[in-house]
Amino acid sequence: MLIAISATDRGLGATVDPRFGRARMFALVDSDTPEEVRMLDNVGNSDQLSGAGISTAQAVVDAGAKVVISGRVGPKALDVLSAAGLEIYTGADGSVSDAISAWQAGRLTPVTEAMPGRGMGRGRGGGGGRGMGGGGRRG
């Protein structure tokens, strides 16, 4: 299972970036091989003026991550990540490897946010995301 951890620098020794949407990069670690790390550069998303959390979440989903570990995750990023079925853990600090150990030990807070309303019904006001369906029917 692929885990994405927001990080301020490269490698397992780097500090966890407390902000998900504005993180400079992500450490991608497979839970079966936790000593190996791949980096996902996020500068192109984190410096967006509008919707940085959304495009960051999209990049993490596209990278194939199933678990996200960060300090804080904003509401829009949370909508995207939970709609895509990822598990989200917040409150991580220290190094990337500390965060992985804390997650393995069950010491991080899972975010159990209700899924935003799907379809064209009203979601959660103007800020929340929602599915865009309503134009057709799967058949």
Partner: protein, 290 residues
């Protein structure tokens, strides 16, 4: 061209709406009075107008026909505002970020997207004495008020001076309400906080290049706080509304201060004359100061 005047303040609760209502009450000519404080419209509490039924105000948003979408992600890449994510479950829209530009619809190679109207609030028109009154009301939880504010402004008749009750603050809603007006009146109170908020609002008006003047509400012994700022900035003090318990009592009952406290009438009549009579520029308010 009839003049357009906006009454604004750096924060709520300074008496901005009271000033608008009193100006309307004493105006010698018919006005269009617009409540553009669409998150908390309260002009209707003072001007007991004959309202016509409200009309919905919408913004266009994309919807997807899921039978056509193949999750290519082009719509997401086309959106400058990152208002779309494309997930394995389908495209997901963040209406609060969507500007309704239609770019995603053009970018979709499979004709899977189309535009539908999304209601963000409502507006209505009424008559109060000889004036036309308009107000807008944003839906609860809706994040974007500028399109509604613009709709209210566009609906104003153009054959008479327009008086706008602008939303408090200095961000996008204020900018939408004051952009392009002929004059901005900033209402403030003689307190350190009032001076602070006035400075922010005055800076916003200056950035928009709008001639600006100041009305001091609940004026009294501390007016120096505001008058010194105005002197520094070259802003005219247009009027001082004295502190008077009867004004607060009138306000609490939704009664117009100019009617509860007749001594205020000449003050507001003079202000209305300066601000609203076409072709007569407000004294001390030359464009060069803007």
């Amino acid at each position: 061209m009839a003049r357009t005047i906006a009454v604004a303040s750096g924060k709520g609760g300074t008496g901005k709406t009271t000033v608008v209502a009193c100006l309307a009450a004493v105006s010698s000519e018919p006005l269009a009075v617009l409540d553009c404080d669409v998150e908390e419209p309260n002009l209707h509490l003072f001007l007991n107008a004959d309202w016509q039924p409200g009309q919905p105000v919408t913004v266009p948003v994309p919807v997807v026909d899921e039978t056509r979408c193949n999750y290519c992600g082009n719509c997401r890449l086309a959106c400058r505002f990152n208002a779309i994510a494309v997930l394995p479950t389908g495209p997901m829209l963040f209406p609060g970020l969507c500007h309704g530009c239609g770019g995603c619809i053009l970018a979709c190679p499979y004709d899977a997207l189309s535009e539908v109207p999304r209601p963000i609030g409502s507006m209505r028109t009424g008559r109060w004495r000889e004036h036309v009154v308009l107000d807008g009301r944003l839906e609860i939880g809706e994040a974007k008020s500028p399109p509604l504010i613009e709709a209210v402004r566009q609906a104003a008749p153009d054959d008479r001076p327009v008086l706008i009750d602008a939303p408090p603050g200095t961000s996008c809603p204020l900018v939408s309400a004051v952009r392009g007006v002929d004059y901005v009146v900033l209402v403030t109170e003689p307190t350190p906080l009032g001076r602070h908020d006035l400075a922010l609002a005055a800076a916003a008006a200056r950035q928009l290049g709008l001639p600006t003047g100041v009305v001091i509400n609940r004026a009294g012994s501390n007016d120096e706080l505001i008058t010194s700022f105005c002197a520094e900035q070259g802003l005219p003090v247009l009027a001082r509304i004295p502190f008077d318990r009867r004004i607060a009592a009138a306000y609490a009952q939704g009664q117009l201060p100019v009617e509860a406290v007749p001594e205020l009438r000449p003050l507001f009549a003079a202000l209305a004359g300066r601000l609203l009579i076409p072709a007569a520029k407000p004294a001390g308010a030359s464009r060069e100061q803007a």
